[in-house]
Symmetry: C2
């Protein structure tokens, strides 16, 4: 039941990006330093988020990354799925793998895995990037006391 570094780092990347001023591009070198993540590894993880349309990249000098959607329209689930792959505990409850058979699972064990998958989705699909931003801001400065 582990989340890999790809999932964790991608979430930290997009949150870091979202917390920077919106008018200037954010470069991976800086994210790498702030987040203590290897630049080379980041370079390998982040393009998937560009491909999915969650961030926009500009190449060349003065280039970098911009957030490409409103933070309330990006969920944790979206980020994790693009970098981590499916979040289903076993294949046969993965809705993207239709017609995969039940793999010898019985009705009741299948129920367990479905409930588990629903619980996982219930969390990651309902926490938005905006939620994370809000949490960071209140945790940092306690603005709203």
């Amino acid at each position: 039941m582990r989340i890999s570094t790809k999932g964790r780092y991608s979430l930290r990347f997009i949150l870091d990006l979202a917390l920077q001023p919106k008018d200037k591009p954010v470069i991976l070198k800086d994210v790498s330093k702030r987040q203590s993540i290897s630049l080379k590894y980041l370079e390998q993880i982040v393009p998937a988020l560009t491909g999915a349309g969650y961030v926009r990249s500009v190449r060349g000098p003065k280039g970098g990354y911009y957030l490409n959607r409103d933070p309330q329209e990006i969920t944790v689930g979206m980020i994790l799925r693009t970098t981590e792959g499916s979040l289903a505990p076993i294949d046969c409850v993965d809705p993207n793998l239709e017609g995969v058979g039940t793999d010898n699972e019985s009705e009741s064990t299948l129920y367990v895995w479905k409930e588990l998958y629903d619980a996982i989705c219930g969390v990651v699909d309902h926490i938005t990037l905006q939620d994370l931003i809000d949490r960071e801001r209140t945790a940092q400065g306690e603005y709203y006391i």
Copy 2:
């Protein structure tokens, strides 16, 4: 976010065991056939459940396995944790690993992983073996219509 075969097979084993008549021991060879799981692999997974006290084993001829607790006192979480290990998505939200540090996670991403862990526990710690037995029986014969 995968459950390994150890977790899946251990759950299928104990459910299979619970569904057999309680007066006779259940042998792995039979479970192996019914569940289409390699005997050798089962032999390697099941002793952990004996160690945890969920099943009782008798060696020698006429030996085998008995359920050692009431089905309503065994949760899916208990089984998964003994064979699968921790169910925490990342180490720093694992309650068993106290003082492990936050591993560069920020307040808000830590919140995500905690919520996720709580959701996982909310499912596996509230489904009992008895629940699975009931589901199997109703699915099989529709006894309670």
